[in-house]
C-alpha cells in the first residue's frame, strides 16, 4: 500500500476511532500505535522520496518533495514521541482530577486529527488546501487548548481562535490574490493554485499583485508562526493547554505555518525583484527575536516563558529564511529541526515538573534534580540546548545563522546577539533555581516518561557534533529548493 495514503489515513481513521473509544484502557496504546504507524509510513515515504525523487498523489493535489518530506518526518517523529509522553502525563492529570474521561477521549481524537491536518498541510500541492488544512489545524487545537475548561484556558482558547482565525483570513485573502495573479498566466484550468504549476511560471506572475499577496500571506500565516506583533495568542495558548499540546504546538504547528510562508516566499521571490519577500521576513524575524527576548525576563509561568522562547526562535528562523541562499536556508531548516526536538523535550520535562510541584509558577518549582534527577537534568540540558550552548545542535544552526548574517547582513548581528544574550540571561536565571536547590516536589502516581526527552536531546546532541552526510545532502537539497 502507498506510504503516503497510509500516512494520511492512519491519523484520520484513528482520530475518528479515538473520538469514540478514547476512554478505554488501551486507548493510550492505540494512540501510540497510530503515531508509530504514521511515523513508519513517513519514514517509508521519506525513503521513497530520497530514492525516487518528488512524486504526486491524488492527481496533482498532493506533492511530496525533499523539502516537505523533511517536515513530514520531523512532524511524525515528534508526534510519536509526544504520544508516548502523553500516556503517563494524561494518566497523572486524570489522577489529579484535572481531566474527565470524555475530555481524554476528546484529547486523543483531536490529537490524531491535528496530526492529520498538519501532515495534509505539509504535503498538499494546492495552496488552497494548504489554507484549509491550516485552518483545520487551528480548529482542532482550539479544542485541545481549552481542554481543562478553566477560565484561563477558555480565555486562551478564545484568543487563539479569534486571533488565528483573523490571521488566517488574511492568508486566505493573500491566497485569493495569488490565485488572481496566477489565473492571468495559467488560465482558469483549476491549476492556478497548484504549487508545482506556479513554480514554473513564478517569473511571469504580476509583481504588484504578488507583493500584496505576500503581505497578506505573511501577516496571515505569520500570526500562526507567532511573529511579533502578531504573536499574542501564542503564550496564552501554550501556557494554558495541556503540556503535550504545548509541545506539539511549539514543536510542530509553528513549523508548519512557517513552511506555508516558505512555499509562498519561493513564489514571491520569483515574481518580485530585490529580495522583497526576504527583507520583509528579515524585518519580522529581527523584531520578533528582540521583542520575545525582552518578554522572557518578565515571565512567571514556566510554560509561558518557553512559549516566548519559541517565539524568539521562530523569529530567528524567519530571519534565517529571510536571508535566503543555500547556507541560510540550510541553517534555517537545521534550526527548525533542533528547535522542534529541543523545545518539545523541554515541554515534556516541564510537564512532569509542573505535575510534581502542582504549579506552573516558576518561583514555586525548586530542586527538581533532587526529587527526580532525570527530570531535573532533562530540563537543565534542554534549556542549555535551547539557549544555544554547544555541543548541542541548536548552537550549530545558530552558528551558521550568525556567521551568515555577519557576512551578508552585518548590521543585524548586534541585534541578534543582543537578543540571544538577553534571552540567555532571562531563561537561564529562571531555570537554574528550578532545577537546583532544595525541593518542594512530590511523587507522581504514574512514572514519568523521560525516554522522549533524552531521545530528543540525544539526537540534538549528536547533530551538534556530527551531521550525517545523507542528512546533509537531504538538507542541502531542501535548502536549494527554497532558493
Amino acid at each position: 500500500m502507498d506510504f503516503f495514503v497510509l500516512m494520511l489515513a492512519i491519523p484520520l481513521v484513528s482520530g475518528a476511532l479515538l473520538t469514540v473509544v478514547g476512554e478505554r484502557d488501551w486507548a493510550p496504546n492505540l494512540n501510540i500505535v497510530a503515531s508509530l504507524g504514521t511515523f513508519l509510513a513517513a519514514v517509508g515515504l521519506t525513503g521513497e522520496i530520497i530514492a525516487n525523487g518528488p512524486r504526486f498523489a491524488f492527481g496533482e493535489q498532493f506533492f511530496i518533495d525533499s523539502l516537505n518530506v523533511f517536515f513530514v518526518s520531523l512532524t511524525a517523529f515528534v508526534g510519536l514521541t509526544t504520544s508516548i509522553f502523553s500516556g503517563p502525563y494524561m494518566k497523572n492529570e486524570r489522577e489529579h482530577g484535572r481531566l474527565s474521561v470524555p475530555r481524554l477521549r476528546l484529547y486523543k481524537g483531536m490529537y490524531q486529527l491535528f496530526m492529520f491536518t498538519m501532515l495534509a498541510a505539509l504535503t498538499t500541492n494546492n495552496l488552497g488546501i494548504l489554507w484549509v488544512a491550516m485552518e483545520a489545524a487551528t480548529l482542532t487545537t482550539v479544542l485541545l487548548v481549552s481542554l481543562y475548561r478553566t477560565s484561563a484556558s477558555l480565555e486562551a482558547a478564545w484568543k487563539y481562535f479569534i486571533l488565528c482565525g483573523v490571521g488566517i483570513a488574511q492568508a486566505l485573502f493573500g491566497t485569493i490574490l495569488l490565485y488572481f495573479a496566477a489565473e492571468r498566466v495559467l488560465g482558469e484550468s483549476g491549476n492556478a493554485l497548484l504549487w508545482t504549476h506556479l513554480i514554473d511560471v513564478k517569473g511571469s506572475l504580476e509583481p504588484t499583485i504578488m507583493a500584496l499577496s505576500f503581505i497578506f500571506l505573511l501577516v496571515g500565516y505569520g500570526t500562526k508562526v507567532g511573529l511579533a506583533p502578531l504573536h499574542n495568542w501564542l503564550p496564552d495558548a501554550h501556557a494554558e493547554g495541556p503540556t503535550p499540546v504545548s509541545a506539539v504546538l511549539s514543536g510542530l504547528l509553528l513549523n508548519v505555518a512557517l513552511y506555508a510562508i516558505l512555499r509562498c516566499k519561493v513564489l514571491a521571490d520569483g515574481a518580485l525583484p530585490n529580495g522583497y519577500a526576504g527583507n520583509l521576513m528579515i524585518g519580522f524575524g529581527l523584531f520578533t527575536l528582540l521583542v520575545a527576548a525582552f518578554f522572557l525576563s518578565r515571565q512567571k509561568d514556566v510554560k509561558r516563558m518557553f512559549a516566548y522562547s519559541s517565539i524568539e526562535h521562530m523569529g530567528l528562523i524567519t530571519f534565517a529564511f529571510g536571508m535566503g541562499g543555500p547556507i541560510a536556508n540550510f541553517a534555517g531548516l537545521l534550526h527548525m529541526t533542533m528547535h522542534s526536538l529541543t523545545k518539545s523535550a523541554i515541554f515534556f520535562a516541564v510537564g512532569h515538573a509542573t505535575q510534581k510541584t502542582g504549579t506552573q509558577l516558576m518561583e514555586h518549582i525548586r530542586g527538581l534534580i533532587k526529587i527526580n534527577p532525570l527530570i531535573g537534568w532533562g530540563l537543565m540540558l534542554g534549556t542549555l540546548a535551547i539557549l544555544g550552548m554547544p555541543p548541542f545542535g541548536v548552537f550549530a544552526s545558530e552558528f551558521m545563522i550568525l556567521t551568515h548574517a555577519m557576512k551578508h547582513f552585518p548590521w543585524a548581528t548586534p541585534i541578534l546577539l543582543l537578543a540571544l544574550g538577553v534571552a540567555f540571561a532571562a531563561i537561564f536565571g529562571k531555570v537554574q533555581p528550578m532545577v537546583f536547590g532544595e525541593t518542594t516536589a512530590k511523587r507522581l502516581p504514574h512514572a514519568p516518561a523521560m525516554t522522549p526527552v533524552f531521545l530528543h536531546l540525544g539526537i540534538v546532541l549528536m547533530l551538534g557534533l556530527y551531521i550525517p552526510p545523507y542528512l546533509t545532502r537531504w538538507f542541502h537539497e531542501a535548502a536549494r529548493m527554497l532558493g
Binding site: S146, S151, I176, F180
Partner: protein, 222 residues
Amino acid sequence: MTSSIPLSAQLINLFAAVILLLGFAMLAQRRMLSLINLFALQGFCLFLATLVAAVTTGQVHLFYSAGLTLALKVLLLPWILHRLVRQLKVKREVEALINIPTTMLVGIVLVMVAFNVALPISELSHTITRGTLGIALAVVMLAFLMMITRQKAISQVVGFLSMENGLFLAATSATYGMPMVVELGIALDVLVGVIILGVFFFQIRDQFDSLDIRHMEKLKDN
C-alpha cells in the same frame, strides 16, 4: 466609459456596493439580532453577486458557490446565531471602545485605503468585475475594525464571519471563484468553526457568567 460596462458587471458592482454599505451598517449596529440580520442580508447580496457572475460567465462551479453561500451564509449561520443569541440572552452590545461616529470616520478612511491598495490590481484585471476587489478588501477591513471595537464575543464572531463574506466576494466576484475543492474546504472550515464557537459560547458563559470579552483579560504579562 460607464456605458460600456455590461449590465451584469453593473449588477455585480451594485451588489458589492450594497455589501459595503451593509458592512458600515453592521459597524453602526448595536442590537445583536439586527446585527445578525444585517449579516444575513450581506450574505444574500453576496449570493446574488455570485449568481450574477455565474450566469454571466456560465461557470458551473460558481453556481455551486452561490448555492453554498445561500445555504451557509444566509440560512444556516444566521439561524445558528439567532438560536445562540436567544439561548444566551444577549440583547445589546455594550458601549463600544470607540463611539460610533468615530468608528464610521475610521471606516471611511479604511475604505479609501482599501481602494487605494486595490487600484493597481484592478487595473490589471481582465474580469468584468474588477472594481469589486477594492470593495472586498474594504469589507474585510471594516469587519476587522468591527472585531476590534466590539466587546461581546458574539459580535466579534459576526465580524469574523463578515470578514469571510468579504473574502468570498473577492474570491467569487473578482476571480470568478476558486477551485471547487478549495471552496468546499473553506465552507467546511467556516461551518465547523461556527459550531465550535457555539460550544465555546456556552462554556464561556458558564465560566464567566457573561459573553463580555472584557472578562477575558486575565492572561497578560504586564
